[in-house]
Amino acid sequence: MTELAHEIEMTRPRSPMRDAWQRFLRNKLALAGLIIVGILVVTAIGAPVLAPRDPATAVLSDKRAEPSREYLLGADELGRDILSRLIYGSRVALMVAVLAVGIATVIGGAIGLVSGFLGGWVDEVLMRLMDILLAFPYLLLAIAVVAALGTGVWKTTIAVAIWAVPNFARVIRGQVLTIKERDYVLAAEALGARTTRQLFVHVAPNTIAPVIVFASLYMANAILLEAALSFLGLGVQPPDASWGLMVASGRDFLRIAPHVSTIPGVAIMVTVLGFNLLGDGLRDAIDPRLKNRF
């Protein structure tokens, strides 16, 4: 009986997505990443239920309190519960990263598709424009954007998105260049498919897998960038709870109350690690050949 089941299993057509999923499940590190990201999503959504205290209530007599039963992770420089602020901070981290990566996927994706598929002078112009944005070292483009636009959650999101767009455009263009030479696209062209049909039916859907991998890895970078901007005072502003801001707020008391700065940093690191593990795992599961490209 089990042998028969096995035989049926063997003869069933194997879907590439199912294969990829099986490979993913076998990868312990990838699963760890999925769990971390899952926990982050749950905390972000359930923040009001999960937070033991109000994140904004300051009890001045408890300022810089060390971790105790009352304040599980201690209190910050104004006497606010660090754990509750971390939980609410996960909302900001996740929201900025998801929106920024979403914007970058749409805009960068469109640029990459058009550039890679049409080639010629369109490609040349678009890619030179992307080169210009990429010429600004990490963080400095975002700083320039924030310097001009100002700070806050939305402007930080825009700054992070602008930094991510050229990276997405380049990767998706690279994908399109390999896909458009594949036989099924050439066949579609030979059969007289219009350019738009070739692009949207044959090329674009096949970039989705690498885009998912890339987006996951860029979620990690987006969270880091938001935290860095907020740490500098150029990102999310008080009273919003941002992890980077929390690290900055404890800086002046590092010597006497190191937990105020260091604990939020652990949250940043674990979250970023989670997205990196997830992205690595997805890449290895979907297409290990992408390894050298990202």
Binding site: L29, R128, L129, D131, I132, L133, A135, F136, P137, Y138, L139, L140, I143, A144, V145, V146, A147, A148, L149, G150, A220, L224, A227, A228, F231, L232, G233, L234, G244, V247, A248, R251, L254, R255, P258, S261, T262, P264, G265, I268, M269, V272, L273, N276, L277, D280, K291, N292
Partner: protein, 306 residues
Amino acid sequence: MRRYVIRRLIGLIPVLLGVIFVTMLTIELIPGDPVAIMLGENARQEQVEALRAHLGLDQPLPVRYVKYVGNVLTGDLGRSIQTNRSVLAEIMDVWPNTLLLAIAAMALAIVVGIAVGIISAIRPYGIVDTVARVLALVGLSMPIFWLGLVLLYAFAYYFRIFPVGGTGSARHYVLPAVALATPSIGVLSRMTRSSLLDVMGEDFIRTARAKGLKGAKIITGHALRNAMIPVMSVVGLQFGQLLGGSVLTETVFSWPGLGRLTVRGIFARDYVLVQGAVLTFAMAFVFINLLIDLSYAYIDPRIHYD
């Protein structure tokens, strides 16, 4: 080779013009009247007019752009609104500190990153490799400003081994360079490992094995040089990370560099200074990448440039 260098330099021109344009936009995009914002509420009317004229804001954008490009080419980045000194002079005062820190971090990242990558590749998927890969991923997930604070607490406050901040001696470099280099160590070790493993699958490696050579010898004698090309291109990109990251490390370690000057400039609304600083970072990054591209020729004699 010379023709290739010239072609690359010409190819840089549109990128640099674009970089200058984008930097110019930072003032352009400030909502409201940038001059009023920069000078604050208490500025006198003459001051406002003088700065407006200095920045040329009364002229149309294309005219201003051409002028700005001309100024940049002659090294005139305007005057700092705070100090009224030439922005170029302000930048040059601190730029060496930033560059030296970035170079120190880069050297550290290259040595440690490539070493870890090699160790990983000797026995892929073994225990050492697994530990090294996880550590590499932890390293590149590290927020460097936080790592800096942790190092500061541990090695400057708790164990008083290193100074709390500032420059002066080689000891001042240790903590900021380690904080700055850590994510790059992760990136470079991953790249070295995967590039080495690719090369290890090639025929000439099999020949070397057939000759009787063993693991480490094959890597150092045959595979490494071939595996370095992709690693080198990542080194170039990492330099951008280090220059950008210097904004964070300099803030944490009170390092008198361009990164800290930039942040201060933003808070002081000294946009002329910020423009100059951002431009300097971008130009440095562009030229470092050019140098690295050119250095490929020395690593890989198979590449011909004509």
